[in-house]
Assembly symmetry: C2
């Protein structure tokens, strides 16, 4: 693929491109298992830069991959077909915080936590909170329809996007959606962009709504000697109309990982549930917490502790918050891979899903943990394996297949919040088999030369193991 460097330099300046092999290596992977090589990294500083680069790329049919923090877990930002990486992190300005009309406008490279830091001074917040909020950019979150611990009460990114500006594959700058809370004005192209993983357009500005920060939060934990009983508690909490603002599961592997990595002193039980209610008035929070506590007790939850204290809540939750990095230290030489890491599961199947993860791990001789934002129907796992051994990758492949076959059998969905990218494409294609041709039709209609993040979603290879190099040394 021949890229005219001078042309790109003329657009963004020499200081905003790189063809350095080290840079290309870093930008060739994300938080998935994948790795590939782009030809160039380009850092646009404004919308016009993006338009000019896209027009050039489109004229030469060069792939163009827009990238936020690279915290995606499914290979969404991996340049599987080479081409231009568009690093959007220079476009990181909060353009407007309109308190009167209850929206903000941001550039795509704004980091989630940075936005919420500014909003906090006005007593409001933007609720989608992926665990990666310290680095995740708003553009990436939209492209991925991210969510997180708060989705149980507050929903996902799609519930906060009011509108956006997008550079389309032909270089056109268009506005989708609006700035108002409700709109019924034809095709919701902003909602189509949400979750499209950079394959339909490049988001260059987003209009987001925000909501008041709850004045009070109460957090609780319950311990369980049986994983199933924790799962059953989740199901009953959600089916009985409780409205927690957080409901997290940690299984024994997760507990052990955090204790090992951080000497955290979590109790060595089969499972812990963490739950929270928030609001403006203590009586309303107490009402929710009482119901949730009673359900946990009914399912033999014990050692239940509740706290309104901010420091204590932070301490309780820090174990969960540090889980992902802790898993990397679970076993020497083992890597914590984002494989089968995310699935949407009906509440009534949460317990069997958690058990299934353990069964699959055992059968395939890998280590897997069951945890996640189960109250929003989101189950997570990770596969811990020795990445130097080919056999372990074979095992992982089997395990991933078994997991997603089971997810399909219980009416779940391939991804709750981590997206499809490359890693989950095989299960996604199976799940969405009847609509793939319509996805292709839309992709072709909006990006006829297939330059925007090609080779992802319905166009990703069927076998994730061989789709790209794996970013681990192995035999």
């Amino acid at each position: 693929m021949k890229i005219n460097l001078e042309k790109i330099i003329n657009i963004v300046g020499k200081e905003n491109i790189s063809t350095d092999p080290g840079d290309l290596l870093v930008y060739g992977s994300d938080s998935s298992v994948h790795e590939a090589s782009a030809c160039i990294v380009v850092r646009p500083g404004k919308i016009e830069h993006v338009q000019k680069i896209v027009i050039y790329a489109n004229s030469k049919k060069i792939p163009i991959i827009s990238r936020g923090a690279g915290s995606g877990m499914s290979g969404q930002a991996v340049p599987i077909k080479g081409g231009i990486i568009l690093d959007m992190k220079r476009m990181n300005h909060i353009l407007e915080v309109n308190l009167a009309d209850v929206y903000c406008r941001v550039e795509p490279g704004v980091v989630d936590d940075d936005l919420n830091h500014v909003l906090k001074s006005h007593s409001v917040f933007y609720p989608p909170a992926p665990a990666s909020s310290r680095v995740a950019t708003i553009g990436g979150e939209i492209a991925n329809n991210a969510s997180g611990v708060r989705s149980i009460k507050y929903g996902a990114v799609r519930d906060y996007v009011l509108g956006m500006k997008v550079v389309m594959a032909n270089g056109d700058l268009v506005s989708f959606g609006c700035k108002n809370r409700v709109e019924a004005a034809g095709y919701q192209l902003d909602r189509l962009m949400v979750g499209s993983e950079g394959t339909l357009g490049i988001i260059v500005e987003a209009t987001l709504r925000f909501i008041p920060i709850p004045k009070l939060r109460c957090m609780g934990t319950a311990k369980f000697n049986k994983l199933k009983e924790a799962g059953d508690s989740i199901a009953e909490i959600m089916a009985s109309g409780c409205q927690p603002s957080l409901l997290e599961l940690m299984d024994n592997i997760a507990i052990t990982a955090v204790n090992k990595a951080m000497d955290f002193g979590l109790p060595d039980v089969d499972a812990i549930l963490m739950f929270e209610a928030d609001g403006m008035v203590k009586e309303a929070i107490d009402f929710e917490m009482k119901k949730i506590k009673a359900i946990c007790e009914k399912h033999n939850g014990f050692g239940i502790e509740l706290s309104y204290d901010a420091k204590e809540r932070t301490r309780i939750f820090s174990g969960r918050k540090k889980l992902f990095p802790s898993l990397s230290k679970y076993k020497e030489l083992f890597a914590c891979t984002s494989l089968a890491d995310d699935m949407a599961v009906p509440y009534s199947k949460m317990a069997v899903m958690a058990q299934k993860i353990h069964d699959v791990a055992k059968r395939n001789n890998v280590i897997m943990t069951a945890y996640g934002h189960c109250g929003s129907g989101c189950m997570h796992t990770k596969i811990l394996l020795d990445p130097t051994k080919n056999k372990q990758w074979d095992n992982a492949k089997n395990a991933v297949k078994e997991i997603y076959d089971f997810v399909a059998s219980i009416d779940g969905s391939t991804s709750a919040e981590h997206g499809i990218g490359i890693s989950k494409a095989f299960a996604f294609k199976k799940e969405k088999h009847d609509s793939l041709n319509f996805m292709h039709a839309i992709k072709k209609a909006l990006d006829p030369n297939n330059i925007l993040n090609p080779g992802k979603l319905m166009d990703a290879p069927d076998d994730w193991v061989t789709a790209t190099r794996l970013r681990y040394k192995h035999n």
Copy 2:
């Protein structure tokens, strides 16, 4: 247009088609000003019927218009290009209420109130509540992205659709979305269908989430001697982080209409605000009501009454609820037309928008009222005119143009909840000018023969006055 009757009869049976001129007249209009003639009305009873009819229509390039209750106000269901009306009301079964997994599956012809009647017995509800919920079907609500008095707190239809089954233009039956609360699995084609007004596919089943019914509601009213002060109250309530479950404006025309039609005895003031807070715990509701009341008082609201009593709440709200039919009786021989009837407006512009409506009415010698779900940014009006006089239609046309020019100038959007159809297409096309070609591309990709509700949205004529016959006798 030649339609093979026998072919259609073979699909649905003789008892489920009609070419009776009376039926064609009724099915030729909806709640808009428009009227046109279909060739045949067909009442499918199951998905397979819809598929077969669509396959036939597609092979002959015959327009096919799916229709719910016909309560749309913008001409969405008017057969502007003739063809087949698909009356979906026979497909009115609630297929599943899954309390454990917190979703229900319904056929598209299920009426909103009927669904909520069933859900109520389980203490849950489906919140989008258009004023027409007594007749509006779920299919129509989705196609239109409907909302209503509850959208301020609970959002619109798009916030409750989890997934759907759709018959595409080629007859394919596809599943979009899923049954789970969160999903991040590629193109949100279910969200694309929401608001597409039957132009991209025919919704034959919907999976909706529901939420717990609040145990308590408190409703309040405040009177204002200046419309502006009511508008300013709305703006401050929304900007200050209050969380009402309803916030409605009625101006003096609306008040007079209800009093005239129903001898209702509302106070003859410039404006009334109705507000409500709901929840599970009285203290939380009192907290909201106290804040809202204080803001109304600050803006010279007076005679503020609050009530938790269900009967009293119903009585207070019945004036608002009966507004639409009351407007038809405001002035003898005058018709209440759904023109410029709906717009999304920034909160800070609510007061000037209300005033603008009055100014425009005066200048153009028609009667217009400012009312609506202003707390969700949704302003309504209607144009009351003598439909027998051509001059009045000219005036209406001017008024509509002035309204939407103003909406555009204050960063509003053409429709908050009534949709685009035919009536609002000219303003919609202006607002969305930069993305019309992408809407066309998507339409062509999914419906290459343009059979699905053709001549709507971006394809509607520029002049609504001459787009179809008007369903009023005039010179």
